[in-house]
């Protein structure tokens, strides 16, 4: 190679360098952009949920001067508790509202007026009267739960700017609510109903208690089945399994099950547990069994990794002093591997907590108001409750859905934080 050609080549390379460096910088920016895109998606998702769900944690109340006239209530003097229980509180609320806003005279006007307070206000009033029977016969200012639509106006979610036909709160109701607000007769309180009640057709009466219990019972069953079986399977495959075709078959099956769509497990649950074994529909026990089959591969795979990570010297030492294979595993290997196994199991449980598709198949998608008392009572779980509410068109349910999502994500964050903590401790050892 002569000197001249080499100079030529160097010059060509030098000339292309600027372009190549620019390309390098561009490429790095693509990478940053991709990471940023992920962040932006995550941020929008969380902000959207929190923004929509935040108002659901408050509930507006309206102070109405209720005239508890025994005649309107339909109560005789010296009424018994039972009579007080069945008295016409709705009538009392209606007549008191009419007294506060005498301008509502037509049938339609009155209906709109009554829609300011919740259907549940009647029961709140009943409980109050049962606690303080001396209120009967007097007019007293009592805070009543606002209707979800009235509440959405008081929360500022609906304004007069929207055309009247497009909103459920009418101009007249807005006027009344404005007057109540000016008189200091409206109040926003923490929404305890959301945590203490079951499902309801009325957004302001709906809560997640049944779903929380259902999720708890379902996870209990899942854990009781998946954890022991998963750990046992992992121990077998890591410590005892001979290398043969049967073991290969088991391993292939576990890896494939980990990637089977969750809804297929629902079909299995429907065909086997409900149709063949005739277990009860909508019950946490069936949901728990199905979810445990679904989470088993996760638990087995992570437990195997944890058992594999135990140093062989521990095994050799135990075997050397005469322990049997099983004693070595139970007394020495498992305790060391336990944090890792627990980490994997918690992650598996978190998966099960967020899962809903297979539960739809086995009928855990029902309208349930009563808190389940055990694993065989009909129940629903938090993600399915979210699915059910997301289908309701009312604005009140949209915010309830988002709030339920916030609760669900809160639990998931707790579980994952626990898993991360365990892993950190494990790594320190």
């Amino acid at each position: 190679m002569s000197k001249q050609t080499s100079n030529k080549a160097t010059a060509a390379i030098r000339a292309s360098l600027k372009k190549r460096y620019a390309r390098e910088r561009r490429f790095q920016w693509y990478g940053r952009l991709a990471v940023l895109t992920g962040f932006v998606f995550l941020f929008i998702l969380l902000a959207d949920i929190v923004g929509k769900g935040w108002p659901a944690f408050t509930q507006h109340y309206i102070e109405v001067s209720v005239n508890l006239d025994p005649e309107v209530l339909g109560l005789p003097p010296n009424a018994t508790r039972e009579q007080m229980f069945t008295a016409d509180y709705l009538g009392a609320i209606k007549s008191s509202l009419r007294a506060m806003f005498p301008e509502a005279t037509g049938r339609k006007d009155k209906q709109q007026l009554y829609r300011l307070v919740s259907i549940g206000a009647e029961y709140d009033l009943r409980d109050r009267v049962l606690k303080e029977p001396q209120l009967i016969g007097h007019t007293s200012d009592i805070w009543l739960r606002a209707h979800a639509e009235a509440g959405s106006y008081l929360k500022g979610q609906v304004t007069a700017e929207t055309a009247e036909a497009d909103r459920r709160v009418k101009d007249q109701q807005m006027g009344w609510l404005d007057r109540l607000r000016a008189d200091g007769r409206t109040e926003s309180r923490f929404n305890t109903t959301f945590f203490t009640q079951g499902d309801s057709r009325e957004p302001e009466m709906a809560g997640i208690r049944v779903a929380l219990y259902g999720s708890f019972f379902t996870l209990l069953v899942t854990f009781a089945i998946a954890f022991p079986i998963g750990v046992a399977a992992a121990v077998y495959l890591e410590e005892f399994a001979p290398r043969n075709r049967l073991t290969d078959l088991i391993e292939i099956n576990i890896n494939n099950l980990a990637a089977v769509p969750s809804i297929v497990f629902g079909l299995l649950g429907l065909a086997v547990f409900i149709n063949f074994f005739e277990l009860p529909r909508s019950a946490p026990v069936v949901g728990g069994i199905v979810l445990s089959l679904m989470t088993l591969p996760t638990i087995i795979i992570t437990s195997r990794a944890a058992i594999q990570a135990v140093s062989p010297s521990i095994r050799q030492a135990a075997l050397g002093v005469g322990a049997s294979k099983l004693q070595t595993v139970v007394h020495h290997v498992l305790p060391v591997a336990m944090p890792g196994i627990l980490t994997g199991s918690i992650i598996g449980m978190a998966q099960a907590l967020g899962e809903s598709a297979p539960l739809l198949m086995i009928g855990m998608v029902a309208f349930i108001m009563d808190v389940p008392a055990g694993v065989t009572d009909p129940a629903t779980v938090l993600p399915v409750q979210i699915y059910l509410w997301a289908d309701s068109p009312e604005r009140g349910f949209t915010e309830k859905t988002s709030a339920a999502i916030m609760v669900l994500m809160g639990f998931l964050i707790l579980m994952n934080a626990l898993a991360v903590y365990l892993r950190k401790r494990f790594e320190m050892k």
Binding site: A34, A259, V260, A390
Partner: protein, 462 residues
Amino acid sequence: METTTVFLVLVLLTIISFFMGRKRSHAVTSGLGGARALHSLPKHYGYMAALWALLPALLVLVLWLVFEHGVITRMVLSELPPAVQDMPASQQGLYFNQIVSYAHGATDASMLDETQVLAAQHYRFYDSTSRSIKALLVFLVALAGAILALRQIRPALRARNHVEGILKWMLFGCSFLAVLTTLGIVMSVLFEAIRFFQAIPIADFLFGLEWSPQMAIRADQVAASGSFGFVPLLVGTLLISAVAMVIAVPVGLMSAIYLSEYATRRFRAVTKPVLEILAGVPTVVYGFFAALTVAPFIRGLGESIGLHVASESALAAGLVMGIMIIPFVMSLSDDIINAVPDTLREASLGMGATMNETIRKVLLPAALPGIVGGILLAVSRAIGETMIVVMAAGLSAKLTINPLEAVTTITVQIVTLLVGDQEFDNPKTLAAFALGLVLFFVTLLLNVIALYVVRKYREQYE
């Protein structure tokens, strides 16, 4: 006796057996110099007795519980008059439920006819008899097991080996459950699918271009048996998955490349877990986000530039599904890029290539099979994803590849066909299992190919 009581008594019997076994091991060696004469530790003889008491009895209890309900139902049903037995299944079910709820004292007799009241009495009789027999049988089996074990105890009995043998079989049973689960899945979808294909020819299902599973309400309506053409569902599923991949693959792959090749260790340590949150968000949350935020947004955006966008567009569902899959693609690609040997990187950089030339011309070609495998896994996940499409995709099957229109997917149809009232003699319900069969085998095929490709790729660099 209640099942829980039976179970608790069984546990108690097991514990007693343990102590008796241990005591007996001491007793048989009393003349031989105590526990030293035993082959195993005294507690192993206890474990042995306990296992013999517990396991057979537990098996009996579980089998009894599984079959109790069905057998009693059939016994009561067979005694009902022929008029009831000829009822259609759903009506008969309702009729029978009234009997059961009366027998349990949940309703009063006012809603029932005389036969039902009589049947309820029979039901109650069978139910209580079954409970007594169950308790008796379980206890007898437990006692028999314990006595058998106790009688075997001799100093030379290798109790530890015996117990460990049983436990090893139990461990094997636990891992064999995975095979049973797969078998259960295949059987349950296959049997119902075969029944479906008896009603609808398999060719009509696989190549039919129309899907409208609405069946005739009355049985005498001719030719109103719905049409079960699978093609629109497949196209809809693939369309939504394709949109998802268009989002997830570039973002996930580029993020993985950036994080593994360019980012500082600290940036990576913070960024990766944050992006992985996206994988931990429950799918129902994505579904809600897609249906209530993304779909209206895309619709509004489309209309502002004069495009007609369906309110349940494939684009919205696919976009959100893509977001869900980003971390999946990212961590798979990350693993695979990290598995490329450093010597390849160093050789390329040493020749004067820039980092981006190294990545595009050396790393990516070397990692390509692995990345393809990872993408196949992601596609399989997109096809099987249910909640996002149930909440954000359409219900009516339309054969189109326009992402702005509403399409439906396999999983959506499974859910719509099976949620609500079900009758298992109806092609509409059975169709869900046929779809489940297809879904299972498509995802299985993708997974097997993907896992094979990834494993081959790993072996190449080991």
